[in-house]
């Protein structure tokens, strides 16, 4: 079976829709903004990659808005775009489409509001939708309910690599009788103090206030990353299914692998990341010469960056183009790996490598694409992602003409 992406949707700090996302990526636009409502409470984090001007009622039926947190709104809007883009006729067979949307820490903003009501005013002031809105599976559930999708559904919570792992899992779902899967990751960590508080203890967030330097991976000034919010969702199916319904194939999901590198902020030493990348490439049937661009994890912490560079040198002794467009908008937890997957699909499609914003020069002997986008012949892209706690995932995507 060859798994292909035939639909794509994003909600990002560039706004809603993949067109807006790609336009910002190619420009290397800075999308980090102050988060004053959180900073005013004495939090050390000052910048965030927020989805600008997002009014859920513009995109989602009211009855779904009141029962969901922002992380589900983003998932629902990205899923709608992916479904539309795919052209799948959901109503023709509700059991033919499933949902697997990854979550980072659930519905924090909704949860904080209801918990404040509980402790501040009493149990009778807690809305009943708290029972479902905070939950990790809420996004998958509401995407399923609002679109009437009755295929295999699930949720993965593997921090940032979530969508990469969900794509790996979807292969099984396709084999087991759900011919199309909506797969993605979504998070909204900036909406409330509680959401951000859950992240502070990890010690990986940048305290910088200058959008130009706060998140500058692979540089000497690297001081952590800026948190962001957003979602990306892809519709995947077997190539034969896509062909039969004359769908446009946007990318081939050629290989996935994940490893666990041991407890720690990030896989210490990068061995686990290296192993995941090697295995994903093996499964995709590509060697180092077959990979044309790497979407790096680019945590923005000196040790984690050095580990990744070492892994890249081992994987690609002759060098490879590397980029980290998320330096422009931050890391959106479960949305981070997902937005990188979307960036890789768009990059293959446009045959352009978007630049790494805020990194003026390629450091550490890396062929990092900086300053301006680079047109290139792109057959395959490798996406790397690490999660807090030691998870590592790698995904190989290919241009449909080069499989």
């Amino acid at each position: 079976m060859t798994m292909v992406i035939t639909g794509l949707g994003t909600v990002s700090p560039a706004g809603t829709g993949t067109d807006a996302y790609w336009a910002a990526l190619v420009e290397g636009r800075t999308l980090l903004t102050p988060i004053p409502d959180v900073g005013a409470r004495g939090y050390p984090v000052r910048l965030g990659g927020r989805v600008p001007g997002f009014d859920p009622y513009e995109h989602i039926e009211g009855r779904y808005v009141v029962r969901t947190d922002a992380f589900s709104w983003f998932a629902m809007v990205a899923s709608d775009e992916a479904l539309r883009d795919s052209g799948v006729d959901v109503a023709a067979d509700p059991y033919a489409t499933g949902v697997l949307i990854c979550s980072g820490s659930g519905g924090n903003e909704f949860g904080q509001r209801e918990l404040a009501a509980l402790w501040g005013r009493g149990p009778e002031f807690v809305g009943p939708y708290q029972s479902i809105a905070w939950f990790y599976a809420a996004s998958t559930g509401q995407v399923s309910i609002s679109n009437g999708l009755k295929g295999m559904c699930g949720v993965l919570t593997t921090d940032e690599p979530g969508m990469l792992d969900a794509l790996g899992q979807s292969r099984q779902a396709l084999r087991r009788g759900t011919p199309a899967m909506l797969v993605g990751g979504s998070d909204a960590a900036l909406g409330s103090p509680f959401a951000l508080a859950t992240q502070l203890g990890s010690g990986v967030l940048s305290e910088g206030g200058d959008p130009g330097t706060a998140y500058a991976p692979f540089t000497e000034g690297a001081c952590g990353f800026v948190p962001a919010e957003g979602a990306a969702v892809a519709l995947v199916e077997d190539a034969a299914t896509a062909r039969a319904r004359r769908a446009r194939v946007r990318a081939v999901v050629a290989g996935h692998a994940s490893t666990f590198g041991g407890v720690g902020a990030f896989d210490p030493g990068g061995e686990g990341l290296l192993r995941a990348a090697e295995e994903a490439m093996r499964r995709a049937g590509v060697g180092p010469e077959g990979v044309d661009v790497v979407f790096a994890d680019a945590v923005g912490l000196p040790k984690a960056d050095a580990d990744e560079v070492a892994a890249l040198r081992r994987l690609f002794p002759d060098g490879v183009a590397v980029t980290a467009p998320k330096a422009g908008f931050g890391r959106a937890y479960a949305g981070a790996g997902a937005l990188d997957v979307a960036a890789a699909v768009l990059s293959l499609e446009h045959q352009v490598v978007p630049p790494t914003p805020h990194v003026p020069d390629a450091p550490l002997g890396l062929d990092l694409v900086t300053r301006v986008a680079r047109p290139a012949r792109l057959r395959s892209a490798l996406v790397l992602s690490r999660g807090v706690g030691g998870g590592n995932s790698a995904l190989v995507l290919q241009h449909p003409d080069h499989v």
């Binding site: 039926e61 009211g62 009855r63 779904y64 808005v65 009141v66 029962r67 009778e124 002031f125 809305g127 009943p128 939708y129 029972s131 479902i132």
Partner: protein, 86 residues
């Protein structure tokens, strides 16, 4: 008891605030919660808000009310229910 009564206009407002569904007096008067698209958790939220506004304890009967009209009848004492002043 006047302040413990609710009107259909209030229900229209509560259906919007608690369940996110816009409706009007005529529709809310004649349709069931199900037909309006209000799920069981939505009804729960509406009942809780009515309890706060009126000071009444409506109990499980109210949560099972099939329609805004039935719920209104229950709250306004047109149907016997387990009501206690709060």
């Amino acid at each position: 008891m006047a302040e413990s009564r609710i009107t259909i206009e209030e229900q229209v407002e509560l259906i919007s605030a608690c369940a996110g569904i816009r409706t009007d007096v005529e529709t809310a008067s004649s349709q069931t919660f199900d037909e309006l698209g209000v799920d069981s958790l939505g009804v729960l939220g509406i009942v809780a808000e009515i309890e706060r506004r009126t000071g009444l304890k409506l109990g499980a009967d109210a949560e099972q009310a099939p329609s805004p009209a039935a719920l209104m009848a229950l709250v306004n004492g047109d149907v016997p229910a387990h009501m206690e002043g709060a």
